[in-house]
């Protein structure tokens, strides 16, 4: 079995988001939020609807451009290149390279419908990273096997169930050998039966030490899988701690209320 992760680098957080703010027009949806994930850890973002979880997660790979603040990937500013004057400047090419190292799994899968499951997985390694095609195809099948879809490799997304599609999407993200995987409510578009198969897959990754940030409304899952939990409310961090702290001994009355509202 090949390693899921890209080679380890210096210790320190894999990703550090520093004082992220985001405004749409005159509406501020993130008020200087900071968060970090350490190597091999799982961070989950929970909170009421509209609290800014998706927006925050999407700034982590600059799919959403923060209004201010900084994202560090392995201690280097994401999508920036050092300038001669010692500072950092935006660089489109660097951003593309950095984004390749951050996998993203969407709520609505966003598979490429005209490609088979396997092609979805090997496409970017071959066309973007210029990996050897035969090897990439082999690895795509291996990854599909790993998410329990060895038999579906040649199927088009339209013929797969939602849960299967989401597992293909996870394999597609893994194929890039990411440093970090981001999930935005990976199961909220799924029926309950399919939810568990996807959550099992994600939990498997967590056990193998894949570094992840997960936005979810599945509290039982969050409790099982998280090293750290961030509770958000109205664009701010309400409370942060280990899964045990947040779920068993929440400090804030509002955290308690939020958690009990989900039971």
């Amino acid at each position: 079995m090949t390693a899921l992760l890209s080679e380890k680098t210096i210790s320190g957080p894999v990703m550090y988001a520093k004082e992220i703010t985001k405004t749409y027009g005159d509406k501020t949806v993130l008020h200087g939020v900071s968060a970090q994930v350490l190597e091999g850890q799982v961070l989950t973002l929970v909170g009421p609807s509209g609290s800014g979880k998706t927006t925050l997660l999407r700034t982590f790979n600059r799919l959403e451009e923060p209004t201010s603040g900084e994202i560090l990937l392995d201690s280097k500013p994401l999508g920036k290149r050092s300038r001669s004057d010692g500072g950092y400047g935006d660089d489109v090419q660097q951003l593309r390279l950095d984004q390749q190292r951050i996998g993203f799994v969407f709520q609505s899968f966003n598979l490429f419908p005209h490609m088979s499951a396997a092609e979805n997985v090997w496409h970017a390694p071959v066309r973007v990273k210029r990996e050897n095609k035969a090897e990439a195809v082999g690895r795509a099948h291996e990854l599909l096997g790993r998410v329990g879809l060895a038999d579906q490799a040649d199927q088009k997304p339209a013929t797969l169930s939602g849960g299967q599609q989401q597992r293909v999407a996870i394999a597609r993200a893994l194929a890039m050998r990411p440093r970090l995987l981001l999930f935005d409510e990976p199961t909220s578009a799924l029926d309950p039966e399919m939810t568990s198969e996807v959550l099992r897959t994600i939990q498997g990754l967590a056990e193998e030490g894949v570094t992840m940030v997960i936005v979810t409304h599945e509290m039982a899952f969050a409790r099982r899988v998280s090293d750290r939990v961030v509770v958000m409310e109205a664009g701010r961090i309400l409370e942060e701690g280990t899964a045990e702290q947040i779920f068993s001994h929440p400090e804030h009355e509002r955290t308690r209320r939020f958690l009990s509202s989900l039971e």
Binding site: N61, L63, R96, L97, Q99, Q100, I102, G103, F104, F106, S108, N110, L111, F112, P113, H114, H123, A124, R127, V128, K129, Q155, K156, P157, A158, T159, R172, M176
Partner: protein, 272 residues
Amino acid sequence: MQFDPEFFTESLFSPSAPFLRGLMMTVAVSVISMTLALFVGLLVAMMARSRFFALRTVAGLYVWILRGTPLLVQLVLLYMGFSAAGIFAFETVSIAGISIAGAVQAAVVALTLNESAYVAEIVRSGLETIPKGQVEASQILGMTAISTMRWVILPQAIRTMVPPLGNTFNQLMKNTSILSVIGVQEMFLMTQSISSATFRTFEIFCVAALYYLLLTTIWTVIQWYIERHYNHKVGLPYEIPLVSSTVRVLRSGRAGLARSPREETPKEVLTP
């Protein structure tokens, strides 16, 4: 009523050499113009999506003018107007031993320009049917804008573009009949000259109508295969009977330009 059945069947089943040459001209001019228009139209559609205001403006003007004026006027302006003003004249040229009359060149240019404006609009609205999530998925995999277009957007958008593109090609084939005004020896002009030589106007124009119908019907069948091919590619079934699809294509003119696949496919799959 005067109807010469013998002349009719003769003209229909063993058409004269001039008539056949006219038919070939109609097919050749249509196919060449459409092929060129696909490239030009794609280019204009890309310009219309450009980051640069100037390019978007040029594309907008191009489509506005070419779709807002009659093909007949464009044709005459290009072939006769420009030369009358001493700006430009199409001369007979010879390529690989075949001499091509100036009128034929003007016809191809005019049809290409006119058609490309329609193609550009079809491509533009076809590209818009691709959900934003597809672009985001490409972006996070590190794909450039060009490879996203090449590998993700175009292959999907083509499926939604084929029906309107096919319909506009159908229209184009019929529109070639107006090329007769600048003396292109296509099927209509040939029919006219047979008519004035034989005075069998009714019979020979019935024959011409049947040949136009044959051309558009053959194209409809080809289009059906192309549509099926692209639906297979995204794993969709495509079980519309050929006959009802023929009727649909023949009925719809340029009106059905921007049908999205979502409102189209399921309905057709359901109605046998």
